[in-house]
């Protein structure tokens, strides 16, 4: 009799520990599950707002490193030097080809 009662208690605990969700057993509380829709909605809303704010902020406010790199590119005219380098390279290849070279 005592064993039967103990077993009944054990099985009721086991049954109470899980709930069925879409035909699959899920823990009744804590641990698993994907959470309430309010929490999910709030999480997605906050995430979207943060991403949008971050991208808009970055579009209009350059970072400190970006500002420093801009000073370097303008000070040393890196942009035109690189463009000039490519122009020279193309010219050199064209000259080489016209002279039937290997490039």
């Amino acid at each position: 009799m005592k064993l039967q009662k103990a077993l009944r208690g054990y099985y009721s605990e086991q049954v109470a520990a899980v709930k069925l969700s879409g035909g699959y057993a899920q823990p009744a509380s804590g641990g698993g599950g994907t959470g309430s829709w309010v929490f999910n909605l709030a999480f997605h809303a906050v995430l979207m707002v943060l991403i949008a704010t971050g991208m808009i902020y970055g579009r209009y406010q350059s970072s400190l490193l970006g500002q420093r790199v801009l000073v370097i590119t303008e000070q040393y005219n890196i942009n035109e030097r690189v463009t000039g380098f490519f122009d020279d390279l193309v010219r050199e290849i064209q000259n080489n080809r016209s002279e039937e070279g290997t490039l």
């Binding site: 698993g32 599950g33 959470g35 995430l47 350059s62 970072s63 400190l64 590119t73 890196i78």
Partner: protein, 156 residues
């Protein structure tokens, strides 16, 4: 994962910050919001494609020493952090190569404001790699290791 994780994580990041201070620079040089967005947002969005927000919280909780997570939850949390680590690497690679493409695109003749574009993307590229390194070192690797350790302890 012990409670002292936070202390060690702060000390680790602080060590890098100290390097910046020793170089007589400013911590602000390490801050770039678009880099953070381009590295972190794709990771979170792609994880959301197969994990719910509550599962995010549960994955962090499972790694804690005093949590009562079972083997199944620990394995799921381990997969979560392994995926996050791979996604961090992938999103950083995408960001860096996008930056290189944008820089190459802007250094042609007739492109207005190319200096600004070069500077903006160069900063994004460099800081994105820094953030990826920090995220991997401070979050994904320690949590993966803690979860694996807990799984090993469960198996005895």
């Amino acid at each position: 994962m012990k409670k002292s994780y936070i202390v060690y994580a702060v000390l680790t990041v602080g060590l890098f910050a100290l390097g910046v201070v020793f170089a007589k620079s400013t911590i602000m040089i390490m801050i770039d919001i678009p880099s953070l967005m381009l590295v972190l947002a794709p990771v979170i969005l792609m994880l959301l494609s197969h994990y719910g927000p509550k599962e995010f919280v549960n994955a962090f909780r499972a790694a804690m020493e005093k949590s009562n997570s079972n083997e199944h939850e620990l394995k799921n949390a381990l997969v979560f952090f392994s995926t996050a680590q791979k996604l961090v690497i992938a999103s950083t690679a995408a960001t860096v190569f996008l930056g290189i493409i944008m820089i190459l695109n802007s250094i042609g003749e007739g492109y207005t404001d190319s200096g600004k574009t070069v500077a903006w993307w160069m900063a994004v590229d460099v800081i994105a790699i820094l953030y990826a390194g920090l995220l991997t070192m401070v979050i994904t690797i320690p949590f993966k290791s803690a979860l694996q350790k807990r799984l090993n302890d469960l198996k005895g």
